[in-house]
């Protein structure tokens, strides 16, 4: 391999140990970049290689990785993202999450490709990275503050309003197991409790400013991808209407197909869906659309509410997942309350999905008598009670009253409440399910089962469920020539699922926004254009296979087995109403599909353990 660094990389990893204050940089070489690519690949590399087995996720020995990909900061739609990874305090396995805004691009311009944060600061600190200069600064006065105050104070303190900040709020400080890390005020690395890890290290924020634009091998070709996306933005299913509404415009359609979770995934009908959709938001409380670095889509809402409670547009507005989880999934149709809940989660750095899911779970427990009015300190924690929902967010962030129990996440809370409650916990491996319905699309169910982070819809976004004539457009080059119905879970669907799951990992390594409707082939073309490598779709899938297998190994090292690749029992029961009322998943079919997925991955068909041969083939040092 040529030793010159490929386009898109700075070739430098920043390592910061908060226990002893040491700051160092490590050089990477081209082979490393090509084997792991970036983002999730870099995160997994460090976590798999450096974390000892059994480390306390909230102890000083856990490591928190912030990783960019080769396209981060490159002028291409969707390139404003970075990956964050650690051992998860929620699942005990791998956590990784990607997040947008401008922070990743700024870190690229500051000269790094990744940050490895180790140890634990004695007192609250924040990190200040400025064009290759790094310092650890006191954050005692920031501790306890919400994200907006923190960002503003840091910018003022450092005297630069263009500083970008990855930051946590009180929820993360209080080690809520699903606390997130915010890039700015409305972009969350949401899933798996990465914010709690940051909080456990007494690290309040990472402030970044840089001025060196990333190198790009073939700028003209990158521009062609940008132009393609602009030209196709309004016609590809994934992006259609996004710059008009953002996510959440299709909630009515979701209800009609059965995809919309209602009342903790119990039902399918929610008569007030129209009240909480992104179309209604546009017509009522929306005050603008925001964006991430380099992205013309501008899919991010900002909403403003004056009464009955103020909602600050600085915190953006609710995405589909938030609308569904705080809305229909809690039986709530009050849009202002949902907007307020979203603001609170962003201010406290709580993952809206897990937060809403644990509240919906608690509501069902309450209605079923598994939680009493005494447990809730007098709150009528029923589906549809939006004031209770908002109260719960406050209690969780502060770990007060029942909030202390719910801050542990659905799985742990259910275990403490009792056996009947565990059947209502809509989680896999401890991670609360995204707002999509496996009973509609068993391919998604398979994804919820086998994804290493748990029931994370971000590992499953690319059409795993349907293959329509239109989808075939991007799939034919992979050899998928014929449509597959949504409810199919045959070996053909499993093979397709694997290809699409690997595509998600490709996106996570690049790092690029999953709403960008680039095909597998285009993704490989983007890597080639940015880096200058003679790469192709086969190599990019191979990278993804390597990274996904490392995530698998990480979980196995922590004690996970094939038995953890399962779904909550509710998905094997019919919905109480709606089009899926007579369509539970068939557990035997899902188990068969799981086994075939293992086989296709080169993992043991029964245990799901990667074979030594596969590890050798992928160049991974084994268990």
């Amino acid at each position: 391999m040529p030793t010159q660094l490929p386009g898109g990389y700075n070739g430098k990893i920043l390592r910061v140990n908060l226990s002893n204050g040491s700051i160092s940089t490590e050089a990477t070489d081209e082979l490393f970049c090509r084997k792991y690519l970036g983002g999730a690949g870099f995160a997994l590399y460090f976590l798999w290689k450096e974390l000892p087995q059994g480390v306390d996720p909230l102890g000083p020995d856990n490591k928190l990785i912030f990783a960019l990909g080769p396209v981060t900061g490159v002028p291409l739609p969707g390139s404003g993202r970075n990956c964050i990874g650690a051992k998860s305090p929620l699942t005990g396995g791998i956590a990784k999450s990607e997040v947008g805004e401008f922070w990743g691009a700024e870190l690229k311009r500051a000269g790094y490709d990744a940050i490895v944060v180790e140890g634990k600061a004695e007192k609250p600190v924040y990190l200040w990275i400025h064009d290759g200069e790094v310092s650890i600064r006191d954050a005692s006065l920031l501790w306890g503050r919400n994200t907006k105050e923190t960002q503003q104070t840091i910018r003022t303190e450092l005297g630069d309003n263009r500083i970008r900040v990855a930051v946590i709020g009180p929820g993360a400080e209080n080690l809520v197991r699903y606390a997130c890390i915010m890039n700015g005020l409305f972009d969350a690395a949401g899933r798996g409790g990465l914010g709690a890890v940051m909080g456990s290290k007494n690290l309040k924020a990472i402030a970044v400013r840089g001025h060196k634009a990333p190198t790009v091998f073939e700028r003209e070709r990158v521009k062609e991808f940008r132009d393609w996306l602009l030209a196709n933005m309004q016609t590809t299913p994934m992006l259609r209407g996004f710059n008009k509404y953002g996510t959440g415009a299709a909630m009515g359609g979701f209800e009609a197909t059965g995809n919309l979770p209602v009342r903790n995934f119990r039902g399918g009908l929610f008569s007030e869906t129209g009240k909480i959709s992104a179309v209604t938001i546009r017509d009522t409380i929306r005050v603008g659309m925001e964006t991430c670095f380099g992205c013309p889509v501008r899919c991010k809402k900002a909403v403003k509410v004056e009464e009955p409670y103020p909602v600050d547009p600085a915190y953006g507005g609710p995405e589909y997942e938030t609308l569904a989880v705080l809305g229909s999934n809690c039986g709530i149709d009050d849009l202002k309350a949902i907007a307020k809940g979203n603001e609170l989660c962003n201010a406290y750095s709580l993952d809206t999905i897990s937060t809403g899911a644990v509240i919906a779970f608690a509501m069902e427990c309450f209605e079923n008598g598994l939680l009493s009015i005494k447990d809730t300190d007098g709150i009528e924690l029923r589906f549809g009670n939006y004031e209770a929902m908002l109260k719960m967010i406050e209690l969780i962030a502060r770990r007060q009253g029942i909030g202390d129990l719910l801050a542990e996440g659905t799985a742990r809370a259910a275990q403490r409440i009792g056996q009947r409650a565990t059947e209502l916990a809509m989680q896999v491996k401890g991670l609360e399910a995204g707002m999509h319905e496996p009973r509609l699309k068993p391919g998604l169910g398979l994804g919820f089962m086998v994804n290493p982070h748990g029931a994370d819809h971000c590992c499953n976004m690319h059409d795993t469920m349907y293959v329509t004539e239109q989808d075939l457009k991007g799939l034919r080059p992979l050899g998928i020539l014929e449509p597959l119905p949504a409810d199919d879970i045959s070996p053909r669907k499993v093979a397709l699922f694997r290809l699409l799951q690997l595509k998600e990992v490709m996106f996570d390594c690049l790092v690029i926004c999953k709403f960008m409707s680039y095909t597998h082939e285009q993704v490989a073309g983007i890597v080639a254009a940015v880096t200058g490598w003679d790469t192709g779709v086969m190599e990019q899938l191979r990278v993804a296979e390597r990274v996904l297998t490392m995530a698998r190994l990480f979980n196995i090292r922590e004690g996970f087995t094939a038995a953890d690749d399962t779904l909550p029992p509710r998905f094997f029961q019919p919905k109480t109403d709606g089009v899926l009322a007579d369509k539970p998943l068939d557990p035997a079919k899902l188990e068969t599909a799981k086994s075939y997925y293992y086989t296709l991955m080169g993992w043991d068909a029964r245990t799901g353990i990667p074979t030594p041969e596969k590890l050798e083939e992928l160049g991974i040092t084994g268990l």
Copy 2:
């Protein structure tokens, strides 16, 4: 899928039943073309779907498929080829072989994509295909004639000297089990006894003339591939020096590395290698270079000898395989005798590799006392006796004397001679090994083991053995980033072998010459340019996987098991001399590699039987 026919196809299959004289055509659709592509894919489709289990390869129920690919006849270097397939009278399993010249391009211009020949003619016939008109014509007067006379007589009879002829000679008429089919006089569909199948059907020839140039979707892009090949012809390892020498210039180098088979693969040293190389041919007996349709490489020698026996340049000249098998592998250093042997094989339509290999085997039997001078009718059948070698070819073609035994092929002959002889039979599944040394390159050994046709080097031509820095150029896009030594047979090598084996099948479906050094990505690009499909390397590999799995199924239906995926014992013994004198293959390592290969193919790791899930995934109707 759009129903308009893609570029490169006529969309018509010609079906001829020689028993009842029926001639019909069948239309194909785009999905069929895309799933099976052409060439080997079409051949396997018809053989797997239509041949009943246990059919007599030399009986009327066997079928003989002549299949073109989408690039056949397209103006692209290497596109002058077609595939021929049938159940093999040599192995009892699948036989398929590709062959150059102009016949395939002519059939494309005559309006067909494939011919399915069924039944058996009562008397010798030939087929005449002229721009969509097809007739079965009497060939009684042609029977017994050699290929040159047959071709000339047909051209005279039909009054067109530009007619192209696929033809058999007396060897095939006499059902020598490794008789081949010649396109013209020096291009053979050599392996597996396809000529004997043609002979068994009393089909002497297929004469073709056509005038309709094939459609091409994107002619300019096809031209770019042509230009690339021309520009790189002198620098890519596979083609370097080919238009100067053809194959066989590197025989000295082959001896030095140990790749050259000497005396039935027994030894490694052959002091007279220089006398029989293509360089010497150029300097002595060569009178010209010939070519196939559309190919600027012109790699095919024509040689002329006056005494001690005339060698007719109309029959071309010996390729590397022939030089080695009739030369060093028989201990023969007389270039004129080798040239004569080559001419005889082409005149009688005998596969030079199997012919030379069975003679080398008989020589070793003779020297070891397993065949006596009585058995050979007085011939001193010793290594180095070139007159004996020439005599054997005559006897085999006519099935006279010991020729009748040797016409059965090495495996059957050895079984009749006895146990000790079987250990000297250098064959797999009944097919004699190509002239390359598995002890040098265990990846080749694995190929000899698992290729459905037996020890066919044509399934293993693309650098399976070494991966050097230079090879990486075409392999990096597949994710192969680091060199692998020749003697490596780790899971990484097995995975690479599979990718390269599938590439061979891609070439065989297209159909394109394997000396063309197109990468996987370029092959997919060629398919896209010719057909207009939005295809990519993943789809093309998937087609190859489908076709290879169908070949596997065909063999399983005929009773083959994993035990047939083995090597002759000699490869597990050291060579008697040369650089590999202390380097036998390790049988345990090869078995481990074989099992991992099965796994990667989605076949049972122990039995090698494709799993039902894999068949469903590939869309193949199963066993």
